[in-house]
């Protein structure tokens, strides 16, 4: 690393980090400005691809040279409804929730074991857990579909299982990091205060790792939500999720408005979930809540 120690203090603002040493000596105001600019860049980066999509979703017609749609309307959404988008949305949501429900507890158990207990050959175990991320999914799926066919595994069950396995590395990593900073002394304290193992789990353990659990579940949900290949190959077309519907529409119909409407519909649930998990994380975070009483009570016991 050639970065000066001071330059690393601007961490969090990619633009500042690129500008190197000179940024290091600027006053906090400019550092703040740099960070603000970085946020704007990040926001634009994320939003730009969505702008034409959102416009298309409310365009009945958008002829080539026009900057904005030439005829506004909800034809795209009506098209989506006709093509079975609500059912696909429900299938995607169900798949995401199911995969999250399977991968999150598994990841939590593996993460806790790796972080808090002596796991034999822990490095090997961690490496094996990472394999589904490293190996391209279609390579695995092509082989697996043969096996699944032979074993007569129901397509939906196959999809759920494979996606859950693919999501476990992410959940394990999130939970392992969470448990690395987790003090089991809290559980001992709770037991010495009369809490049964069940109480310890429900009243101490789970609440304390809740933000990490929410993050892990969100990641697992996303793995299933955005999957195309596994659902297509293992599902054999029987499980039409939103990505499959959008893909089919984009390849076949040529109705850009409908494709856009379906795609926008695909963005909304994860965004809602992201907001939800952020709220959970904030509510249970260790940040001090503003005291209800005046500050003078803070003097007690000092």
């Amino acid at each position: 690393m050639t970065a000066t120690p001071a330059a690393t203090q601007t961490g969090g603002a990619p633009a500042g980090a690129v500008a190197s040493g000179r940024v290091a000596v600027v006053e906090p105001v400019r550092r703040k400005a740099v960070r603000g600019a970085g946020l704007v860049v990040a926001a634009v980066w994320l939003a730009v691809p969505l702008v034409p999509l959102v416009l298309w979703a409310v365009a009945n017609r958008w002829s080539f040279p026009a900057v904005l749609p030439t005829d506004w309307g909800l034809d795209g959404w009506r098209g989506g409804l006709r093509q079975g988008a609500p059912a696909a949305l429900a299938r995607s949501t169900g798949l995401g929730l199911l995969v999250a429900a399977l991968a999150t507890p598994t990841g939590a158990a593996a993460g806790r074991a790796l972080a808090l207990h002596r796991v034999p050959a822990a490095r090997v175990v961690a490496a094996v857990l990472l394999v589904p991320v490293a190996v391209p999914p279609f390579a695995v799926v092509m082989g697996l579909s043969q096996v699944a066919l032979h074993l007569r595994v129901p397509p939906a069950a196959g999809v759920v299982t494979v996606l859950a396995v693919a999501a476990v590395p992410y959940t394990t990593y999130v939970m392992r990091a969470a448990y690395a900073g987790y003090d089991t002394g809290f559980e001992e304290e709770a037991r010495s205060l009369g809490a049964t193992p069940r109480h310890v789990l429900l009243r101490v353990h789970l609440p304390m790792v809740a933000p990490a659990l929410a993050a892990a579940a969100f990641l697992a949900f996303l793995v299933a939500w955005s999957d195309y290949v596994v659902t297509l190959v293992l599902g054999g077309g029987a499980l039409v999720t939103l990505p499959l519907l959008a893909g089919a529409l984009a390849a076949g119909s040529g109705n850009d408005a409908t494709v856009a409407a379906v795609s926008v519909a695909a963005v909304l649930p994860p965004t809602a979930l992201l907001l939800l998990t952020t709220l959970v994380a904030r509510r249970t975070s260790r940040l001090p809540r503003l005291p209800r009483r005046s500050a003078r009570s803070g003097a007690v016991g000092r």
Partner: protein, 391 residues
């Protein structure tokens, strides 16, 4: 209800005595047992301190009492009943650790209400009850605060209130104040004394801080290398240590080898009379607290020994004065009014009741010599902050 784990916890705590009987813990792979046949009694409503250096096994003893670890041999008895096989949550032995470990997702009041809540009480009742205990530790104002917004002292107060709210038969304190500043620690000691007067819990305290043990406990058990070296009152420990190891662990600096003949100790210091009942005849080392000695002006007729000041080490308002007496060295602690200089002639009075002789056992002669010859520039072992620092 939660299986009645704390079902008896609704009423006032019935003070119960605690007994550790032959408690032994030998961790797999260790060359020596961490605890070796520990016998210790804490009378109901009493407070006993288990005092020992780091690694002496004192925290292990507490974990065995709490049921967080299983002894290889021996038993823990509360009110005469064995706790063998009783899980932690049903032992009624609330523990306060060095880290307060307030549950971060609960506010202060709900932390204190936790024991009653898990015992099956309704939230409202548990909170009403918790307020009483918060009041007891003087933090009623902070009830709805998050633990993260509290200072270290406040956190430990809440932890104490929470432990007491569990109505434990025995309150276990595992170095609860050693992470606090000295001033704050003194405040917490006062609080514990107040709590003892108010709720009369039976307390087993583990600490490496001699001062803390002396202030809080009725009696102190010195734990060295997994065994109880001596269990006595504070003054008993300091004046009549059972062994050179105890004397040195408690910061005693005077150990003069000699011989006991007919209730007199003969050494480089001359012939010193011994208090009644002290020391059998034969080789023995005179031990006496440096705080018990008085430095006198040369020629003072009440001096028991006379010598030359070899060194003066100031430790704040007090100073340790080393006086050389015909080859032997006597360390004498003086207050701010005394300022002897190196090379001065000086007398030292050694009060009769403070003299104690430890009969020599093979090998102890050398230990005594080492104790006497300890270099003066090493950190003063009587300094409480030095004693409080974990090794």
């Amino acid at each position: 209800m939660s299986g009645g784990a704390m079902s008896g916890g609704q009423g006032p705590a019935a003070p119960a005595g605690l007994r550790l009987a032959g408690l032994t813990r030998w961790f797999p792979g260790a060359a020596e047992p961490t605890l070796d046949r520990l016998d210790l009694g804490v009378p109901a409503t009493g407070c006993v301190a288990l005092l020992g250096p780091s690694g002496s096994g004192k925290s292990t003893a507490l974990r065995l009492v709490a049921g967080l670890d299983t002894p290889d041999d021996g038993d823990v008895l509360v009110a005469g009943r064995s706790l063998r096989g009783v899980p932690t949550e049903r032992r009624r032995t609330a523990m306060v650790f060095q880290r307060p470990r307030l549950f971060p997702h609960l506010d202060v009041l709900d932390n204190v209400a936790f024991p009653l809540a898990v015992a099956g009480a309704r939230a409202r009742r548990a909170r009403t009850d918790a307020r009483r205990f918060l009041d007891l530790v003087g933090l009623a104002d902070l009830a709805r605060r998050r633990p993260a917004s509290l200072s270290g002292g406040q956190e430990q107060r809440v932890a104490l209130a929470r432990a007491l709210a569990a109505r434990p038969d025995v309150l276990l304190l595992d170095e609860p104040f050693s992470a606090l500043d000295p001033g704050l620690r003194t405040e917490m000691h006062e609080l514990v004394c107040e709590l003892r007067a108010a709720v009369e819990p039976t307390i087993l305290l583990v600490t490496h801080d001699r001062r803390e043990a002396a202030v809080l406990a009725d009696t102190v058990a010195v734990l060295l290398d997994g065994r109880i070296a001596q269990h006595d009152t504070v003054s008993g420990l300091y004046t009549r240590p059972a062994s050179m190891a105890v004397h040195r662990f408690l910061g005693g600096r005077n150990a003069v080898p000699g011989t006991v003949v007919g209730r007199e100790h003969r050494s480089a210091l001359g012939v010193l009379r011994l208090p009644p009942g002290d020391g059998p005849d034969g080789p023995g080392t005179l031990v006496v607290r440096q705080e018990a000695l008085t430095l006198l002006a040369p020629g003072d007729p009440s001096a028991d020994v006379v010598g030359t000041v070899r060194d003066v080490v100031r430790t704040g308002p007090r100073a340790a004065v080393e006086v050389e007496v015909s080859g032997a060295v006597v360390v004498c602690e003086v207050g701010p009014h005394d300022s002897p200089r190196r090379g001065d002639a000086a007398g030292v009075r050694i009060p009769l009741a403070q003299r104690h002789v430890l009969p020599d056992v093979p090998g102890s002669r050398q230990a005594a010599a080492e104790a006497a010859a300890r270099p003066a520039d090493s950190s003063d072992p009587t300094d409480e902050t030095a004693g409080a620092r974990p090794a």
